[in-house]
Amino acid sequence: MTATTASAPSPGGWRRGLAKLRRRPVASAGFVGVVIVYLFAPLIVMVAFSFNSSPRLSFPFAGLSLRWYEEIFTDTLVLRAFRRSLQAAVVTAGITGVLGLLGALGILKIAKRARGFILAISAAPLAVPGLLFAIGLAIMYRQIGIERSIWAANLGHALIALPFVFLVVGASLERFRFTLIEAAQDLGASRWHAFRTVTLPLVLPAVLGAMLLAAAISIDDFVIAFFTAGQDKTLPLIMYGRVLKGIDPTLNAIGTVMLVLTTSLAFMAARRTTIGER
């Protein structure tokens, strides 16, 4: 960034150079750096300690080891929770994918004003704290006699992930050229053919990206599972239980596994959609 400021000495050039030098955003860089470090500090510390061979959570490290990973990957309780979390992620992605794709196709065709209205309404769950939605869901299940289970939690995950799916798909539709479909049909393509060869390839990347995001949201969820999953404990529920019991070094390893899962899903999602581009 500073390389460009070294201009050839011309009349008045040094003054401009000085002005630019004064504008060099040292303070801004420092500020951004501090905020980024603050954002990632808890995660960095956790990942680091997951490789510490001593159970104590203190520096300096006694040594590097994979013992906590070995411990969690031989712990049937953790493994079962891990499988349940993955199952929840797949089911959530499936439900939101189908609803999202259908919704995206429908919303393509309706009037612009109605489209804005539907997108706004569908974002409503984002404004409701997880706690309030989760107890509402628990009440509904209780009143209609549905047992608490991972499936009950799954439907809740799908609901909170759906707004993200709509937002992501909606954002990609802003650049959708509707004339393409008409052009294809004018050129003699049947409705199905136009859909399969024009609409679907254009909409699908956004929907797939949104499904990955939905999976990440599902794996990350604690509050809904807490109130609706019952004995089907997911990884966050296992973590919560162990944190309440006290210091447990396996938590760093479980947390790191979850972190890798959710961030890689979010990363893939961002690459497939427009979120990462802005």
């Binding site: 951004v32 995660l43 609803l99 107890i135 509904m140 961030t263």
Partner: protein, 296 residues
């Protein structure tokens, strides 16, 4: 009707109508799901707040006694006050960090803004419970900060107040909510042309002045949304105080969780939750109008 133009028009009208019917059919599953799993649960919450508790079982009824119980409790008044205090402080700090951060991203480091913004987004999906837990290993008696302070001989023994306190809750909440603050502010700033801030700077305004007098009013919508988001999220928080705030009943959300968990008094819990929702609506409205006045 034999004229070809009108029959073409008729076919077009029919096609449009068919398209519209198909569109609503495609939107049907999503909206049904939305109603069944979002509106119905919230209505269920409302209904439950009027139920009567008989032998630890909620029974369908219409009683206002839950509200009477919830609203007259001095414990709740204290908790509500503390929750609003916490939410105000957390919102203020998050905004004071998020606005300059979004500004710097958008106007100072334009080249790298995508990468930086992506980092913020990743941290948003980087584990809710994982993060809260991680703060324990930073702030604990043997945590990173206390170890560091002792190694530098600033203190002789670990500062116990770091963990199991409002500070720990605040540090974690601010950390978790910064992305939620940056997101709407940054989005609103996309509509502010970078030339405007630059022009102000060229005319001699300091960076601070350009940010405050030019960019802030133009991105106020995003700032308001961020404030409302963060405030509401803090009002409904309970896991962070539960895991980092010590043994005391810290925020109103913990009380709701207690009603639905340990004590099994669902109707009272629902009444408290509905009261909280109403409070959130009022708070969101107040924030919006307050900030509108401040921006003037």
């Amino acid at each position: 009707m034999n004229d070809p133009a009108s029959s073409v028009a008729g076919a077009l009208v029919r096609k449009c109508r068919r398209d519209r019917v198909a569109a609503w059919l495609q939107l049907l599953p999503g909206s049904t799901f939305f109603i069944a799993f979002f509106l119905v649960p919230l209505l269920g919450l409302l209904a439950m707040s009027f139920f009567r508790l008989v032998d630890f079982e909620p029974v369908a009824d219409f009683t206002l006694s839950n509200y009477a119980e919830v609203l007259t409790s001095s414990v709740h008044a204290r908790l509500a006050l503390r929750t609003v205090q916490a939410a105000t402080i957390v919102t203020a700090i998050v905004l004071l960090i998020s606005f300059p951060f979004a500004y710097t991203l958008n106007f100072v480091f334009r080249k790298h803004r995508q990468l930086l913004f992506f980092l913020v987004l990743v941290s948003l999906f980087g584990g809710y419970i994982v993060r809260i837990y991680a703060w324990r290993s930073i702030l604990g008696n043997q945590g990173v900060i206390n170890q560091g302070l002792m190694a530098l001989s600033i203190v002789d023994e670990p500062v116990r107040e770091l963990l199991n306190s409002m500070y720990a809750v605040g540090a974690s909440l601010v950390n978790f909510l910064i992305p939620l603050g940056v997101l709407p502010i940054y989005a609103a700033m996309q509509n502010v042309s970078p030339g405007i801030a630059e022009a102000a700077r060229d005319l001699g305004a300091s960076r601070l002045r350009a940010a405050r007098q030019i960019v802030l009013p133009l991105s106020m919508r995003g700032v308001r949304a961020a404030a409302a988001f963060v405030f509401i999220a803090t009002l409904g928080e309970w896991v962070t105080p539960r895991l980092l705030g010590g043994t005391k009943d810290l925020l109103i959300g913990n009380r709701i969780e207690y009603y639905f968990g340990a004590s099994l008094e669902w109707p009272a819990g629902a009444a408290l939750a509905i009261t909280l929702i109403v409070g959130m609506g009022v708070a969101a409205y107040a924030i919006m109008s307050l900030m509108k006045r401040l921006a003037r």
